[in-house]
């Protein structure tokens, strides 16, 4: 079973994502901000991280950089999942090392498709 860490400050979004991911046979964990997520990854690195952009304490971009610095191994695939849908944001995320990008709102097909593209589904 593949593992996915859902990182989002919205409990509702985490719940929706968890539900979809479980129907896709993922074992799901949750984190409410980047710092919590980083800690999780240092203990047990998931196969993939679904990452919100705007969060208190540590944003998605800050998490992505910290993940690189922390040299977490094996490095999880990182899929941004955010309402920041502008092309500048998308480019910045890819440059910072994100593997894929999901624009909110998303549905099951979108998420399944992107997870397939990064090779975890």
């Amino acid at each position: 079973m593949k593992t996915c860490l859902v990182v989002d400050d919205s409990k509702v979004i985490r719940k929706v994502a968890r539900h979809i991911l479980e129907t896709l046979n993922f074992q799901v964990s949750e984190a409410g901000d980047g710092a919590e997520a980083l800690q999780h990854c240092q203990q047990t690195s998931p196969d993939v991280v679904l990452l919100d952009w705007n969060m208190p304490v540590m944003s998605g971009m800050e998490f992505l950089r910290a993940l690189g610095d922390a040299a977490v191994a094996p490095r999880p695939k990182v899929v941004f999942c955010t309402t920041e849908n502008g092309i500048a944001h998308i480019k910045a995320a890819i440059e910072a090392g994100a593997d894929e990008y999901v624009m909110k709102p998303f549905d099951r097909d979108t998420l399944a498709s992107k997870l397939q593209i990064v090779g975890v589904c």
């Binding site: 849908n85 092309i87 998308i90 498709s113 593209i117």
Partner: protein, 279 residues
């Protein structure tokens, strides 16, 4: 609505005569949901009222709209991604050699729906520009549905559609944001042409080197399916390739094609294969 009801039988007959598609076989169909918008727009009294209007026969536009709604148009970018890789490494590789003289390729996507299949191919060519420099690539998409062809020509996709099957790097490389939607860039759009065409009619001007007919023939009656395969065979070069949907095959449906022994998921004209063996 159950397919045993006369109204549903009438609709199934209408669809089958126009497209060869069998409503009963296609389980994804929920007549009421599909026709609800038309019934509401026209203020008709349910499916029964709609059928009554169709039986009167004075409203060809309504009939066309109903047929369109009853068709399954589902599609997405790079659907069955391994098949696209196979097309690239096997079919396009072979054709690059075989057509080195004319430097011209003709590709037909039959039943292209809203265009994602055609634009996926266009991206493959755009991303291997060096390899195809100096070539003329005709990329033609056809569908029986006029509304699908209109949308394919526009090349504008919702954020749900653009995210299905298409990697983000290709999305930002080949599409421009257009409010909440994404519009195909000219560089890709100019490579494709679209027109309304029924697969049961003689094929558009061939011969084609590569034909995609994926997830179209599944629910045709066996006789119509054989007819469609004949139409494609007549339009395909003897050394050309046919690509079907994942899980679709020719075995038991037609003698016009045989599975390519060297490339999974690709099919060759049977006559061409015999000729190539004899040579």
């Amino acid at each position: 609505m159950s397919l045993d009801e006369p109204g549903a039988r009438y609709l199934a007959g209408l669809l089958e005569r126009a497209t060869g598609q069998q409503l009963a076989e296609n389980r994804s169909w929920r007549i009421d949901a599909a026709l609800g918008p038309i019934i509401r727009d026209r203020g008709l009294d349910g499916v029964t009222g709609l059928v009554a209007r169709l039986v009167e026969g004075h409203d060809p536009a309504l009939q066309a709209e109903v047929i369109d709604q009853l068709l399954n148009h589902e599609t997405f970018f790079f659907r069955d991604a391994p098949v696209f890789r196979q097309v690239d490494v096997a079919a396009l590789h072979a054709l690059h050699g075989a057509r080195a003289g004319s430097r011209r390729l003709r590709i037909w996507s039959a039943g292209c729906s809203t265009g994602q299949e055609v634009y996926s191919l266009a991206m493959i060519f755009a991303e291997a520009e060096g390899r195809w420099a100096g070539w003329t690539i005709d990329l033609i998409g056809t569908d029986v549905s006029p509304s699908c062809i209109r949308r394919a020509e526009q090349g504008v996709y919702s954020s749900f559609e653009i995210q299905r099957g298409l990697p983000v790097t290709q999305m930002i490389r080949w599409f421009d944001p257009d409010r909440d939607d994404w519009r195909v860039k000219r560089e890709i759009g100019r490579r494709a042409r679209f027109s309304v065409h029924n697969i049961l009619d003689p094929a558009p001007s061939g011969p084609f080197d590569l034909v995609f007919c994926r997830n179209v023939l599944l629910y045709l009656t066996p006789e119509r399916r054989r007819q469609a395969f004949q139409r494609i065979a007549a339009a395909l070069a003897p050394d050309g390739f046919l690509v079907l949907g994942a899980g679709e095959t020719v075995t038991g449906h037609t003698d016009a094609f045989a599975a390519d022994p060297d490339a999974r998921g690709l099919f060759r004209p049977a006559a061409g294969a015999a000729r190539m063996r004899a040579a």
